[in-house]
Amino acid sequence: MAELTVQGRVAVLKPRVFAWVQDYGVYAAVLALLLFNVLFTPHFLDAANFRTQLVQVTPIVIVSLGMALVIGTQGIDLSVGSVMALAAALVVLYLGYGWLPALIVAVAGGAVVGAAGGALVAYVGVQPIVATLALLVGVRGLANVLVPQLVEFRNPDLIALGSSSVAGIPVIVLIAAALTVVVLFVVRRTTFGRQVVAIGGNRSASELSGLPVKRVLLTVYVISGLLAALAGVLATARLQASDPTSLGLFIELSAITAVVVGGTPLTGGRIRVLSTVMGALLMQLLSATLIKHNLPQSWTQMVQAVIILAAVYATRERR
């Protein structure tokens, strides 16, 4: 009899534990890692160290925000890294006209690539992974054709964008924070945000109930392209050099990882913006921690692999 009660309790407890892990697991993991570092990592609380970590993770955070929207529609955007490279190429090509026009051209370029992917997905009906794979290959090539090798630049305004701080916080971190708030607002409080989630949840039901499915899909990919291009410009500004050959390589995988570790299901219908940012921070903090404690790169990658699997296992849809 006693045994039965215990079993009954466990049976009730188990889904609750899973639900808790799904909702707060990534926060708990970040907190635990922070605590570990405060206790065991020398100089971890130094402002300089903190700033470096934040600046390094900024491009991934910005790209992840767009990726979270795309994944919310049951899509995926593999082209983001190549879009960053294209933006890096465009920004130095047009830097002669001033940093702001150059930034606008670069971001517009990202929007065009996003629109191309979005049109293939929404209007032609190509699978997101193939449509954006074609762009990943082609756009990286285009960026390399435009700027064949690494180009350093001396534009003080663009360099300031990458390296200046307000009240000790780097400007690019502030931009990423502001964008996070905007995307959070869009997802939670706007009609568009609700449409994105609805389409990801059930596309045919959304079509039947009269939602502008194709237009929303197109917009989501355009936003992803815009954000990736902006991340590319900011990363270029920080590096003080345009490097279309290697900028943003594999960032699509980091962004997808951040989104997934944050508990947004790849099956769509749910977008967790803050958890996505936490996911990006978690992966960054993890690799920083392992490096600080003299564990090699190989370990970092293997531990990341385990964390991705564990996170997806914990947050997968219950069958």
Binding site: I76, L78, L120, V124, G125, V126, Q127, I129, V130, A131, L133, A134, L135, L136, V137, G138, V139, R140, G141, L142, N144, V145, P148, L249, L253, I256, T257, V260, L266, T267, P296, Q297, S298, W299, T300, Q301, M302, Q304, A305, V306, I308, L309, V312, Y313, R316, R319
Partner: protein, 317 residues
């Protein structure tokens, strides 16, 4: 011949037709294109991608995807070069054993937990590259191939073509038979077409999926081992983005990423098509290799749009 038949033929053999067309155009435009030397160089450089893409074809037909093959290719190469100091057998068995185990683990996780293949093999991509870095001293140690017999496997020639090409041809023929003429092949198509229906009809879904991922990993490891034999060393910086090339070749070859349809002939044509595009761009000389990416990307986009339109045409009739 009605419209449905036309579109089906285009879907299945489109890559082959475009390949033929490109070869004809290339031979007319460039004297140095249609030479035995150039053909041999295209075929040899395509053979490693072809071996990987054969495994990827099975995975994609089953409705899955395998992002880990690029990392497995490098790991296979490093392990083969390391193992070659103990002889030919170890040089071949070590990479196959390790890659096979990785494939087995990935397949079991995908088939048993229902987690998305994209994520599981993405973790595989990271984890396997980490493993490769760990055994190569963070990429600092390049193991040289010490065994003559093993090096011959990558460098030797027969009838003017190097051994990896012959191995690729044999593997492609075996894969074709396996896919078209066996119950296993039928199961792969059935699962990709409709997994639930396949399960109801008694198709061993879990086992078939596990086999498919094991096969993909084994082929990627073998391609890596052969490549190490050809280069005489286990280079640690190869294989980046190779999974995407393989997926692109499979898709260009007419295999649908939604699963359930496609074949080996198309995949081989897709690989050769990418190789011929590269070769044509080399012929032009003034174009950089970046153009190859632009053309490949545009080509991939064109092909998927065409596929989509063709499959619509098929459904309408």
């Amino acid at each position: 011949m009605n419209r449905e038949q036309v579109s089906r033929i285009l879907q299945q053999h489109g890559a082959m037709m475009v390949l033929g067309l490109l070869v004809i155009v290339g031979s007319l435009a460039f004297d140095s294109f249609a030479t035995p030397e150039n053909a041999a160089s295209v075929v040899v450089s395509s053979s490693f991608l072809a071996i990987i893409a054969i495994g990827m074809t099975f995975v994609i037909i089953s409705g899955g995807i395998d992002l880990s093959v690029g990392s497995l290719f490098v790991l296979g190469g490093v392990l083969a070069a390391y193992g070659s100091q103990y002889g030919l057998i170890v040089a071949l068995l070590l990479p196959l054993a390790v890659c096979g185990v990785v494939g087995l683990l990935q397949g079991l996780v995908i088939a048993r937990t229902g987690m998305a293949p994209f994520i599981v093999t993405l973790a595989g991509l990271l984890g396997v590259r980490g493993l490769m870095l760990a055994i190569s001293n963070e990429g600092a140690t390049t193991y040289l191939v010490k065994n003559r017999a093993f090096a011959t496997l990558g460098q030797g020639e027969l009838l003017g073509l190097s051994y990896p090409v012959h191995i690729t041809i044999v593997l492609a023929l075996l894969a074709m038979v396996l896919l078209q003429r066996t119950g296993f092949g039928q199961n792969v198509y059935a699962i990709g077409g409709n997994e639930q229906a396949a399960a109801f009809m008694g198709v061993p879904v879990v086992r078939t999926k596990v086999y498919v991922y094991v096969m993909s990993a084994l082929l990627a490891g073998l391609a890596g081992a052969l490549n190490a034999a050809r280069l005489s060393s286990g280079v640690t910086i190869l294989g980046i983005g190779l999974e995407l090339d393989a997926i692109a070749a499979v898709v260009i070859g007419g295999t649908l990423l939604t699963g359930g349809a496609g074949g080996i002939t198309g995949t081989v044509a897709g690989v050769l098509l990418l190789g011929v595009i590269q070769s044509l761009i080399n012929q032009v000389g003034s174009l950089t290799s970046a153009f190859q990416q632009v053309v490949s990307g545009m080509f991939l986009a064109l092909v998927v749009v065409a596929q989509r339109l063709l499959s619509k045409a098929q459904r309408l009739t």
